[in-house]
């Protein structure tokens, strides 16, 4: 992969921060946007803008075509049929949709949903709420020493009363990767479905829902080079067809009478109201952009760089790296500097032009398990290079030296 050429695709990477070169290491929070995406959104507004699925004039047909083309692009990205892609505001809404529309139907007293303590709050709270509303149980799979969820651990909690197994593909804190294919096999063996939080995987590695046996997959546009406010839910066709809408209103109906109404087929029945058409065009362009580079190439690049980063900071006395201590399988590296709060580390790095996330990363149960109130996280993407990492490592060494000096 030609990183210099890729970097040139992202206008924002050229800006300076605090008079320094920008080293953007927070792509797990949100990614930067390539010109291809920005241009697609602009082109849509300048040439095709109209409402979808209702106008009879040509402009409306073009807008509808753009919107449905974007659905096809996402289907191509994850290996599904376009009818299995529901546009949402993002991962959070996608998971809530499954929890409400599917979870609250199949869960009842005596049944359970299996998730883990390592989940982002958005893959934890919807399941807790659905289970609690229905009097069902929430079970948590035990995490391994390095934060991994092993098939054996999963087998020990999933039983015939399990209706849903809900897990992140890649942890946004530990950077660990869950064996989704094995999880699907375990869930299916007990008649349960597998709902995957793909927020940290779909942008960074090949994810094929059929090959992996995924029943529901949630992901966000803004973490995969697309705009904010748009994301998607992949749902297996037969499951989506069984689900009731959550939002009622325009666009999603077949026939409305004062006595009762019928809904469109899935996925359109889940898209009540005028959708985020420009966002869909943007996420579609982002999917094309990622596929043009190749998800395997993106993954290999990030993993190579993450291991380089981890190998460079581990020898620094006082640096703790969380998650796998050996080879890392994703571009997420979470760490702490002994005696210095993660927020102070992040502020110090900021003055050197380096952007990292600090805090609990929306994973309070996991942070309690790590016995860290707060950690700092560097996360990589296709546009990061060794210079970004070297700038970060130098800034971290400088921060350490500074805080140890002022702290006497």
């Amino acid at each position: 992969m030609n990183i210099a050429a890729r970097r040139a695709d992202f206008p924002l990477l050229a800006i300076q921060m605090n008079g320094k070169r920008l080293s953007y290491l927070d792509s797990a929070a949100t990614s930067q946007k390539p010109r291809a995406v920005l241009d697609a959104v602009r082109r849509y507004y300048e040439h095709d803008n109209a409402n979808v699925h209702r106008g009879v004039y040509e402009l409306a047909a073009r807008a509808t075509q753009d919107y449905e083309d974007a659905r096809q692009k996402l289907a191509d990205l994850v290996g599904s049929a376009p009818e299995e892609i529901v546009f949402t505001r993002g991962t959070t809404e996608s998971i809530n949709l499954v929890a409400r529309s599917y979870g609250e139907v199949v869960l009842e007293p005596g049944t359970n949903v299996v998730t883990s303590a390592a989940e982002h709050h958005s893959n934890l709270l919807p399941w807790q709420q659905a289970a609690w509303h229905r009097g069902a149980e929430v079970r948590y799979v035990e995490l391994g020493e390095d934060g991994r969820i092993t098939p054996d651990a999963l087998r020990s909690v999933v039983d015939d009363q399990t209706r849903i197994v809900a897990l992140a593909h890649v942890s946004n804190v530990m950077g660990t990767v869950t064996d989704v294919a094995a999880a699907a096999e375990i869930a299916h063996a007990h008649g349960a479905v597998l709902a995957v939080d793909g927020a940290q995987s779909v942008p960074h590695r090949p994810v094929d829902v059929r090959a992996l046996g995924i029943d529901f997959l949630s992901f966000s546009g803004h973490k995969m080079c697309g705009p904010t406010g748009i994301g998607a839910l992949y749902g297996r066709a037969d499951l989506l067809q069984r689900m009731e809408p959550v939002y009622y209103g325009g666009e999603m109906i077949e026939e409305v009478t004062l006595q009762g109404s019928t809904w469109k087929e899935a996925p359109w029945r889940f898209e009540g109201g005028t959708p985020n058409i420009a966002g869909a065009v943007g996420i579609g362009a982002a999917a094309d952009y990622l596929r043009s580079i190749g998800l395997t190439a993106i993954h290999d690049h990030e993993v190579e760089l993450a291991n380089y980063l981890a190998d460079r900071i581990r020898p620094i006395a006082g640096v703790v790296v969380y998650g796998p201590q050996g080879h890392r399988d994703s571009g997420v590296v979470t760490f702490n500097l002994d005696g210095v709060h993660a927020h102070d580390v992040a502020t110090a790095l900021d003055t050197e032009g380096v952007c990292v996330r600090a805090g609990h990363h929306c994973c309070q149960p996991l942070m309690r398990r790590l016995q860290a109130a707060s950690t700092a996280r560097a996360s990589l993407y296709l546009y990061n290079n060794r210079e970004d990492v070297d700038q970060f490592v130098d800034a971290l060494a400088k921060a350490k030296e500074f805080f140890h000096r002022v702290a006497g």
Binding site: H343, Q364, G408
Partner: protein, 151 residues
Amino acid sequence: MSLDEVYREVIMDHYQNPRHHGHLEQPTLSVGLHNPTCGDELRLDLQVSDDGVVQDAVFEGQGCSISMAAASMFTEAVRGKSLGEANRIAESFKDLLMRRESDRSILGELEALEGVAKFPARVKCATLVMNAFEKAIRKMSEGGGSGNVQA
């Protein structure tokens, strides 16, 4: 923007050697604050005399150097002051960080946190203890005692 402007030695000293750290057995007012965006936690206990003088102020919690140093400095600054004077200290400190006109003469060591104004994302860390204090005052005027509320 340099780190020395923010992390003055006196700040790091308060962070590493917090004054008035702990809790009171029977506080007049006790307020817990939690900053959900960053995970900082703070409990402020106040002993207030009948005539409205802060006889004791202690805190405990966990957070970054800015939030913990500010709590240490604030408890130091308000001891022996009337609630009105303590309130003015909190207000003046917020003015300082918002780059408004501020009465620096009453701030004591809190003035050392002035550099935080250059890092807008960190102002909420510095003012966490003041928010706890103001919450405590509000609760008192509402006739409440101890409590725990979200910031």
